[in-house]
């Protein structure tokens, strides 16, 4: 039962599309809320998605995001095409950032995105290739505490 997919959806995100930044994660939040997941579980998924979406908008050319929810888990995937990350370990350190002033003006680019995604996830996996792109998958366990 626990592997039954309750919901699956694919989203596309365009790099540098600052005016729509956040729309995918807001939609993910409404979907998860609608399904009936616990409020704090939804919040963790929404925060991690928003950080990942901002990373795509700020650094990548385009990306596909995939949301799949089962009764016991929420899995979210961001696969982008773009510059990639040269040193993933460094990018996972709090405070490391390659943000431009434009990104900082929007309140982002403090080097906390990836660390915060990992912090909110129960499972976290990232792989990246320079000039190709980054593939991020994170899962949040919902422990059957939902509809």
């Amino acid at each position: 039962m626990s592997d039954d997919v309750l919901f699956f959806k694919e989203f596309s995100i365009m790099g540098k599309d600052f005016s729509n930044a956040g729309s995918v994660s807001t939609e993910i939040k409404s979907i998860l809320k609608e399904i009936g997941f616990d409020r704090l579980i939804v919040r963790r998924a929404a925060i991690a998605s928003y950080e990942a979406e901002m990373n795509v908008v700020m650094y990548a050319k385009r990306a596909v995001a995939r949301l799949s929810a089962t009764p016991t888990s929420i899995k979210i995937e961001f696969q982008d095409e773009g510059q990639g990350i040269a040193d993933v370990d460094l990018a996972l350190e709090e405070g490391y950032s390659t943000a431009t002033p434009e990104m900082r003006e929007m309140g982002f680019g403090a080097g906390m995105g990836l660390p915060n995604i990992r912090h909110n996830a129960d499972e976290f996996d990232i792989s990246s290739e320079v000039d190709k792109g980054t593939h991020l998958i994170f899962t949040i366990h919902a422990d059957g505490n939902n509809g």
Binding site: A21, S25, K29, Y50, E51, M106, G109, N116
Partner: protein, 119 residues
């Protein structure tokens, strides 16, 4: 303290959410950096910020911040106001600085709504 009382204490004008001023708050956080809000803020609080773009509203919605006060008389842009109306997040504008607004609210018994342990 209700949002209406908060509004009086830190000299606010209500931009949107007039009907939701009876909400009660015990916790506040003050930040211009939305990354800080996403990483360290507890759900359910009030945000004081100087960032007037739409990201302030999206961040608050995502992190379950229930209301936003823009400091130093700042007014958020149109699309931020529109989204806040949709999501039911009241927006206020205080003429005080971030420091003074925070100080007055602390004096009245409101407390930090954040967990500042490193990630």
């Amino acid at each position: 303290m209700t949002l209406e009382e908060i509004s009086r204490v830190i000299e606010c004008e209500v931009i949107t959410g007039e009907k939701n001023l009876d909400q009660d708050f015990t916790e506040v956080c003050a930040a211009d950096l939305m990354s800080d809000v996403l990483a360290f803020v507890a759900p359910g609080g009030l945000l004081l910020t100087g960032l007037r773009n739409i990201q302030s509203v999206i961040t608050s919605h995502v992190a379950e911040v229930r209301a936003i006060v823009y400091v130093r008389g700042k007014v958020p842009d149109e699309e931020a106001i529109k989204l806040a109306e949709q999501k039911g997040i009241p927006l206020l504008s205080s003429r005080l600085s971030m420091f003074e607004a925070s100080g007055r609210l602390f004096q009245k018994g409101l407390r930090p709504g954040s967990n500042i342990k490193p990630l």
